[in-house]
Assembly symmetry: C2
DNA sequence: CCGGAATACCTGACGAGTCAGATACTGTTC
DNA sequence: GAACAGTATCTGACTCGTCAGGTATTCCGG
């Protein structure tokens, strides 16, 4: 279909334009995520990455988690995670404590304030997701839309290791 | 449906969890965008924001555009745009020239190198969008999926002014 | 046990964005 | 035509991430 000279043909350029238009829609999804993040920041006074960490720690149910697992779930390097948790500790949202059985590890745990904030932020975020992400879509579309996103998500997860 | 004590009921919490799961899918779309951006960076040696600027200038068809319109189309402050264009100028991708009729404005224009890079990057990006965004979806789903994304996109665009 | 690989986290230097406040021009009003 | 608001861009100080290279601890083979 494409010649091997590296020079784009007219049809190819036209097709590219169509494909790029699809690609731009991804940017839309991104913008939506951005908006949801900002809303959390304004309504709860924490960055969207802090929010993610609060959710992760909340899911762990009072158990302390090592830094490592925080860095893994975020798209963050371990260095970045260290600094993020530094700030969260300074803000009184989490505490760090060396693990008994492996003193290389620092177990990160929600403080009472962190827990309250996590609950509140989850509530706010759920409301916003409902309002800006679910409500605008026709009800009959939601399931398939979510399934398609999930398909892409798996595909993306497979790609990530190759790129970093 | 929700009581006015501010305390979440069990049903409410369960519903929130469902909604949050939807929300997490947005993160997937984000990750996909991230991957596409990285690919451009690795294959073309420019940041994904530079790529956006190259496309914008390319669409302008040889006309110089003022900084303002670059800052507007990106999710970037004007200060950020200044610095981005600084780097692009240093890399020889664009040139700046004060506008004749309004010397407050700097018209930004693609250099020949910038133009070549724009074409190549567009090609690469179109291929990647095809591969990671379109191909994984069943063909019968693509149109409706795109339409739904477009719906969300409009909704998001309406929100943005309120947040910054 | 002891020395070296592996693991978990931290840190210094840096890159790239934000924000708020210059700076430089334009257009308008009296 | 001088004062003044408005507009376009730039800049200094800062924040928050990355990367590469520590340091401390654990694990394991000989």
């Amino acid at each position: 279909m494409s010649d091997d000279t590296g020079i784009a043909t007219a049809e190819q350029a036209a097709n590219d334009a169509r494909v790029l238009a699809f690609g731009r829609l991804l940017g839309a999804a991104n913008r939506l995520e951005y908006i949801l993040g900002r809303a959390i920041e304004e309504e709860c006074g924490i960055s969207h990455l802090m929010f993610e960490v609060l959710l992760i720690l909340g899911r762990a149910g009072g158990e302390g988690l090592p830094m490592r697992s925080i860095a893994q779930e975020q798209v963050l390097t371990t260095g970045g995670a260290t600094r993020l948790v530094d700030r969260m500790e300074a803000a009184g949202l989490v505490s760090r404590e060396p693990a008994r059985d492996d003193r290389r590890m620092q177990l990160v745990r929600l403080t009472p304030l962190g827990e309250r904030t996590a609950v509140r932020a989850a509530r706010v975020h759920a409301e916003n997701v409902q309002r800006y992400f679910l409500d605008p879509l026709p009800a009959a579309h939601r399931e398939r839309f979510a399934a398609d996103l999930r398909t892409l998500s798996h595909c993306a997860r497979d790609m990530l290791p190759r790129l970093r």
